[in-house]
């Protein structure tokens, strides 16, 4: 008897569950659900460095300049600007209806305050160097901001879309100190305000009625769900709980493409995936032939097609395609077949002193991740088959790998990547300058440095471009690193979302999105 009662109860419960559903008939109203790979480490724009923090900040703030839905630079807080003849002075005219979410007007002084805080060593801002070429910033009056530069910096406008350059509200910082960036206190001059944040779970952004362009914002609320496991994010998307995913798991890519092809958006992304050499120690120190041999022995086409298989493009240059006003230089052996490359590689390998009987033994370090592992395994295999190199794979945690890369004591070949901060070749090429902190291989070439310096002092954009391209050619020939592939951004976007545009910087402002009318 009791058993039957239990059974009935269970059936009833299941019945309720089935009716309740997973929420696709719920009151979805005007709420957009986006996936976020990890919690932002902070929403203090100066102390933040992750892509995720920048994504949230772009929804919850706005700089002088912004990007439109089609990826063009567009006026933000500044409604217009002029540039001087010598390219060293920019004058911005701010809108008079730009407001903070508490009603205060956004004035030029707020930008000055923000930049001062950014470059103040006490703040220890990661992007303090972003405005390194800026000589001075002056608020001529409430609506006029003048920026003077030390060098002509053609990409300044792109820089000014970066959250680190967003204005800050001095009153808010004075009142709340370091706690100003929390939900409820964080002021916004952008399309949305941070309403709530459950760490590890979700960030809620609600419409900022006082935003100057609020009328054009279609969506009332945006929820960014923190989903660290890509598989979980995909499951939720397929269950209809997430409208836009942050990524697509590599293991499921083919399947997703087959089943959800039109919802999958793959676009080039300004990032390069590379294997760096430790140039301070043997065997790669002073050994350009060996470095080139290893680079040539990698079948990038195969890698991109079969191993990563998400639409990445092969990288025979350092700067990805799609960068404004630039044509990347390509390594000389790009047009050859892999067989031809392998032949030349073998010759170089031999002249570096290695052979079948005396194989090169090296350690390849990469961070713990399925993708890196597959690439590493594939390359290990390629090096073995083409040259006889014996590679030991060492898989380290991210933090550990970074520390090792920086120390340059034990690393030989390491996996790394560089994502561009703004849309200009400089963000990539500056990495290889001898004084760059991001220069992991410790590449130091006088010729390269001087070419870069000359480029920096050019006002004429075409001449600048020539210097940059030459610099890239010089650097690539030296092989301080092996560019392998260029990143792509991959998102699943629900059919009910309209306004999604491909962006080479992967910026997708929620204010440009809307819901399609459902019949």
């Amino acid at each position: 008897m009791k058993l039957i009662r239990i059974l009935l109860l269970t059936v009833l419960l299941v019945g309720i569950a089935a009716c309740g559903g997973s929420g696709d008939d719920k009151d979805r109203a005007n709420v957009l659900h986006r996936g976020l790979a990890i919690d932002p480490e902070t929403l203090d724009a100066h102390k933040a460095r992750s892509i995720q923090a920048a994504d949230i900040l772009r929804d919850a703030g706005e700089g002088l300049v912004s990007y439109s839905a089609s990826g063009e630079l567009t006026p933000g807080v500044a409604e217009s600007w002029e540039v001087s003849e010598d390219g060293l002075t920019y004058t911005f005219h701010l809108r008079d209806n730009a407001k903070w979410s508490n009603g205060d007007a956004v004035i030029a002084e707020h930008f000055v305050f923000s930049v001062q805080r950014l470059i103040n060593p006490e703040t220890a801002a990661f992007y303090a160097q972003l405005l390194g070429d800026v000589a001075g910033l002056e608020a001529v009056d409430d609506r006029t901001l003048v920026i003077t530069l030390e060098r002509p910096t053609p990409y300044l406008l792109s820089l000014l879309t970066h959250p680190a350059t967003f204005p800050m509200h001095p009153g808010s910082l004075a009142e709340h100190g370091d706690d100003f960036a929390r939900p409820g206190t964080l002021l916004s001059n952008g399309a949305y305000v941070l309403a709530a944040w459950v760490p590890g779970s979700v960030l809620k952004l609600t419409r900022n009625e006082l935003y100057w362009n609020n009328a054009a914002t279609a969506i009332d609320e945006v929820q960014h769900h923190v989903l660290t496991q890509e598989m979980t994010e995909l499951a939720r998307y397929r269950a209809g709980e997430i409208d836009i995913t942050a990524s697509v798991p590599p293991d499921s890519f083919q399947q997703v493409k087959a089943e959800l092809g039109d919802q999958l958006h793959v676009a080039p992304y300004l990032g390069v995936y590379y294997y760096g050499y430790n140039l301070t120690r043997p065997p790669f120190k002073d050994n350009p032939e060996l470095r080139q041999a290893l680079s040539m022995a990698i079948d990038r086409e195969l890698l991109v097609e079969k191993i990563t298989g998400r639409g990445e493009s092969v990288a025979y240059s350092w700067v990805p395609p799609g960068v404004d006003n630039y044509e990347p230089t390509v390594l000389s052996y790009a047009p050859l077949t892999q067989a031809e490359r392998n032949n030349i590689a073998r010759t170089l390998y031999k002249s570096a002193g290695y052979s079948e009987d005396n194989p090169l033994q090296l350690e390849l370090r990469y961070n713990t991740s399925d993708t890196q592992q597959r690439v590493a395994l594939a390359i290990q295999s390629m090096w073995r088959d083409a040259l006889g190199v014996e590679t030991t794979l060492i898989n380290e945690e991210f933090q550990v790998l970074l520390a090792n890369m920086r120390d340059r004591e034990i690393t030989q070949v390491f996996r790394s990547s560089w994502i561009g901060d703004y849309n200009d070749a400089h963000t990539f090429l500056s990495v290889m300058q001898s004084d760059s902190a991001a220069n992991m291989p410790a590449y130091a070439s006088e010729e390269y440095d001087s070419l870069m310096q000359r480029a920096a002092s050019q006002v004429d954009l075409d001449r600048r471009r020539l210097y940059l391209e030459e610099a890239e050619r010089v650097m690539l020939a030296d092989h301080p690193a092996i560019p392998i592939y260029f990143y792509v951004s991959k998102h699943l976007v629900s059919p009910r979302v309209a306004g999604w545009g491909d962006s080479v910087l992967d910026y997708h402002y929620s204010q440009h999105l809307s819901f399609k009318a459902v019949e």
């Binding site: 009791k2 569950a17 089935a18 309740g20 559903g21 997973s22 929420g23 696709d24 659900h33 919690d39 480490e41 902070t42 929403l43 203090d44 460095r49 060593p121 006490e122 220890a124 801002a125 990661f126 303090a128 160097q129 706690d179 960036a181 929390r182 459950v198 760490p199 590890g200 779970s201 979700v202 929820q223 769900h225 923190v226 989903l227 660290t228 496991q229 598989m231 979980t232 499951a235 939720r236 397929r238 269950a239 209809g240 709980e241 997430i242 945690e397 991210f398 933090q399 550990v400 790998l401 970074l402 520390a403 090792n404 920086r406 790394s416 990547s417 560089w418 902190a437 991001a438 992991m440």
Partner: protein
Amino acid sequence: MLRYALLRLLGAIPTLLLVIVLAFLMVHAAPGGPFDEERALPADVAAKIEAAYHLDETLPQQFMRYMSGLLQGDLGPSFRYRDYTVSELIGSGFPVSLRLGLLAILLALLVGVGSGTIAALRQGSLLDRVVMSFAMTGISIPVFVVGPVLVLLFAVKLHWLPAGWSGTESVWKYLLPVITLALPQIAYIARLTRASMIDVLSRDFIRTARAQGLGTKAIIRFHALKPAMLPVLSYMGPAIAAILTGSVVVEEVFGIPGLGQFFVRGALNRDYTLVLGIVIFYATLIIALNLIVDILYGVIDPRVRHR
């Protein structure tokens, strides 16, 4: 009675200290620091941050600083979540983990005791074997397989249950994670119950009851259940510890913002204070629970006190 309780309490303090020291050393022993990033920090910025978080001090100094903060109830700021303190994060994550854990234990007890009893009653039969085999699946398939499979089936394919956690107010979001978490415990509890119930049912006083004409259900409810439950009760301690372990995986798989997930992220991100805070929090909790259980035992069984 009081003396007993106090003695046990005092005994707990060295344990807690040991835990703190061990955890502190291990976390700092891990190579890599909390502020390393793919794009290297400029040296002066890195130095500033390290100073702000006192990472430039020697280990003993950092330890003393941490302890003095701890004694005032301050678990420190999180190194990774720069806008939050460790206490806030624990306060946010613990209720979630607690609810999950409690529901899982309840489910495990219900299903485990139930199936173990059924199996015991029909010992040796096909039903016995079938029930026990089902129970065993809990310890034969890793939790990180069960979770995604359940999600795929019930959420993605059938749309019966929510696939995730955040943004859903629905109570049903608990179901899959709780089941996943409870499965291994169902297995252990079922086995314990079955063995114990078989043992109890063969005893004299049960035979007496049966001779008196009592039906099986009554026998179980009034005579067999309580004594058979003793081993299960003493398993509750390890069961809770096991739920704790399991919650780490379940929270990762379902994207649940509980302490388990915070811990793993913290360990991998070198969020020293968060990791330490969680370890101390759990250790304190377990020690406190053990204390309460011990005291209760002392109350129920006076022999224990005077040993």
